[in-house]
């Protein structure tokens, strides 16, 4: 099997790569969302700490 045959998936390329492509996209965006949430939580903490120090 060569690469063009591999990507063609015997005519089922849209269905097979559509499945794996979306799964990869879901995982990557979930990781990005979780990282972003952590950044926000840490920023929030810094704000709380700074306002506490100023009092």
């Amino acid at each position: 099997m060569n690469w063009s045959e591999f990507f063609a998936m015997n005519g089922y390329a849209f269905y097979v790569w559509g499945s794996y492509g979306l799964t990869l996209l879901v995982f990557l965006s979930e990781i990005a969302t979780v990282r972003h949430r952590r950044k926000l939580a840490l920023r929030q903490l810094r704000l709380i700490n700074e306002s506490g120090d100023a009092e």
Binding site: F6, M9, N10, G11, Y12, F14, Y15, V16, G18, S19, Y20, L22, T23, V26, F27, E30, I31, T33, V34, R35, R37, R38, L40, A41, L42, Q44, L45, I48, N49, G52
Partner: protein, 242 residues
Amino acid sequence: MAINWFKYSAPSTFYGLAGKLIPWFAWPAAILFGIGFYIGFFVAPTDAVQSEAYRIIFIHVPASILSMFIYLIMAGYAALGLIFKTRLSAMMASALAPTGALFAFISLWTGALWGKPMWGAWWVWDARLTSELILLFLYLGFIALQASIEDPRRADRASALLAIIGSVNVPIIYYSVQWWNTLHQGSTIKFSGTSMHVAMQQSMFIMLVACWLYAIAIALARVRSIILERESNTQWVKEVRE
């Protein structure tokens, strides 16, 4: 000497533990996804009936299994939080919900992409498909309910009830192919053995383990943020530095 199991149920202790555990789940998950994909696409033979389209099952089946298991674990944590009022249990339930919802979504999406060439339809109102769709709505309902109630403890109680009641749907999904005459096929792998090629089984099993490890890693990462958000008024969180 008795092990103090409750030690790690304190958010302050669990925060550090979860941070140390994440790479031990995340890296094996990434490696196993690679191995599972390799076996599924380069070792497993072409199917005689479904040609290459059958390769969708290597992600479809693990995602579907995970969507059901995560729901039960989420409902279990929610119940623990309701009964013992442990803060961490409720936080774990909220950390699992988005991941479970995403696995349910992947299950439905890959199922549709398999159904179109094989059944000739993206979707049918079959008992298996419909109950899996209800599972996705239960996850979304859980997330929405929690977001809609401002007091976190009230939100936990309300969403815990929803999670527990909704868990009756999981056995319905599992047994739907036996109870009703569904278009969706029954399980290929049974306790009595299987007709599946060994490489197909290996790929599916490795992908399943990879999905498990991924789900654990991402839920631990998410619960760490939830702990910081909810415990922001405590002294130990104020001392957390990146």
